[in-house]
């Protein structure tokens, strides 16, 4: 039974991740009938499996979402930002229930009654119109909301033949592999001194096989970077609502592959930087119009491979970094003197944003300004052997460039070393 619960948890978490992206996409494309069916099928799936495992709480939450969706489908409820929020809220409740289930092995005894009462229920006569007045009361006509969109569908190749493996097993495989490589190298070194002809052929073979094996092991650990940014459309959507801004999030290159550990480490920095762009970078609609920009700000995330590097670009068309503001903040905190500043070129001053505790946000919002930020981002990226650079044109937006070594095996460097040995 434990095994089954684990399967359920992993399947449902995957489904929830897909829903997060799809529901935000639905808000942008409310007439996409196929998309509604897909979302419906996934929610239905969660409800079905919850009932199999006798998890009534999750079943009820999924059922509440299903009600909203069937009203969308039948045109009984318009797909407004408020209705989408309602759906996303239900999803969040499902998420927290899943977390509880994962740590406790059983559902919580509390009830979501209060919450579920908010969600539409089928009334006794089968019609489900109760939601309509509820929406009008709470949010009169507040529909001019912009959200993040995905220009390119997040695509995860789904092989017909795949199995699930414990990550620890993969890590173990990797360390053992590295030891094997070292042993092989030792042997090769010995051989170099001895010139014992009878061993040359099998050793050459061992060398080649080890190299192939190491490449295969590395490939087992690759994951698309889209996994690290799947949560971003939802975050940007919620932020644009909170900040009353219009933001278009565009993601390119989701299929670019990185080692799973790198994916884990890059997630937080990327999220942080996109939040920064939304909060500090993109201006309010009125301000943008006054500057002659389009009302909707754009944040672009791009990932691609260039030679031996994975490049991730994060850019926005907001106000860019305000060098004057950074200068005055530095003076205010007694980090530098006026004389220091006079000597520094702008590029050097901008480097201070990567210092611990630095923020130019004048107020602390729920979003940013707590001063935990770019220094952590920089640290995380450098830990992976990468680097981060910044270029900004004041008033025109900012542009961050992250470079991370592409997943290549140690063997490729060793191979080069050995080529001159002429095995």
């Amino acid at each position: 039974m434990d095994d089954l619960l684990r399967e359920f948890l992993s399947e449902t978490s995957e489904n929830i991740a897909i829903l997060d992206v799809d529901i935000v996409r639905l808000e942008k494309n409310p007439h996409d009938v196929a998309l509604i069916s897909t979302i419906f099928r996934i929610v239905h799936n969660i409800k079905g499996t919850s009932s199999f495992l006798n998890l009534p709480r999750l079943e009820r939450l999924a059922h509440a979402s299903e009600n909203i969706l069937s009203m969308f489908r039948d045109g009984e409820l318009p797909i407004t930002p408020y209705a989408i929020s309602l759906l996303l809220n239900t999803l969040d409740h499902i998420k927290s229930n899943l977390c509880y289930l994962e740590s406790h092995g059983a559902e919580s005894k509390d009830q979501d009654n209060e919450f579920i009462a908010q969600a539409p229920q089928e009334s006794s006569d089968g019609s489900a119109l109760r939601i309509a007045p509820l929406i009008k009361e709470n949010h009169p006509n507040k529909q001019s909301l912009s959200t993040g969109t995905i220009k390119e569908p997040l695509f995860y190749p789904r092989a017909d033949q795949s199995i699930r493996i414990d990550v620890r097993l993969l890590d173990h495989l990797m360390t053992t592999m590295n030891e094997l490589v070292q042993t092989r190298n030792q042997l090769l070194n010995e051989m170099h001194h001895q010139k014992d002809s009878s061993l040359i052929l099998p050793l050459q073979r061992l060398h080649k096989l080890t190299t192939v094996l190491q490449d295969i092991v590395l490939k087992t650990r690759l994951q698309p970077i889209g996994k690290a940014w799947a949560q971003l459309p939802r975050i940007v959507r919620d932020l644009s609502k909170e900040l009353e801004k219009k933001i278009d999030l565009q993601l390119y290159g989701a299929e670019t592959e990185l080692d799973r550990q790198v994916i884990e480490h890059i997630k937080a920095p990327l999220t942080h930087m996109v939040r920064n762009s939304a909060d500090h970078g993109i201006e309010l609609p009125a301000e943008r119009i006054a500057k002659g920009k389009s009302e909707t700000g754009t944040i672009i995330l791009k990932a691609y491979q260039e030679n031996n590097l994975i490049i991730i670009e994060i850019s926005d068309d907001g106000r860019g970094l305000d060098v004057l503001k950074i200068k005055s903040k530095l003076l205010e905190n007694n980090r530098v003197t006026m004389d220091d500043l006079a000597m520094m070129p702008d590029t050097q001053i901008i480097q201070y944003i990567f210092e611990p505790g630095f923020t130019t946000a004048s107020t602390i919002t729920a979003v940013s300004g707590r001063g935990v930020g770019m220094d952590v981002v920089k640290n995380n990226i450098e830990k992976m052997g990468g680097q981060i650079d910044y270029k900004s044109t004041e008033g025109k937006g900012s542009h961050f460039l992250i470079r991370i070594p592409a997943p290549v095996s140690l063997t490729s460097t060793i191979k080069n070393d050995l080529s001159c040995h002429d095995l």
Binding site: F8, E11, T12, N45, K47, T49
Partner: protein
Amino acid sequence: MKTCIIIDDSRATRKVARLILESFHFSCEEAENGQIAFDLCQRKMPLLILLDWNMPVMDGLTFLKMFRKLPNTQKTLVIFCSTANDVKNIYTALNSGANEYIMKPFDADIIRDKLRHLDLIEI
């Protein structure tokens, strides 16, 4: 050994079904949609099929119709799985070549009843 294909897009549901059917000494294969199941059937015809309705790529009804057009399917029994939401589909499924239907969530007792009814198990 009696063979079965479990067709459902949920891994967890397939696992539940597999545990039950294996307890009745079936050897099971799984398919996450109708297309994959159809390919499996063309290679090797199973004795029993447990069929979900709503799936991506190819849904249960499309599968069922295509399946019954294949030669040598008359000995294969199809149990269609329905949820409360698509009860109305039961009639369609039975008319399209399903031999039995069960409601989700099912358990070992429900499956045993249906298997007995289809003469697939004794007792």
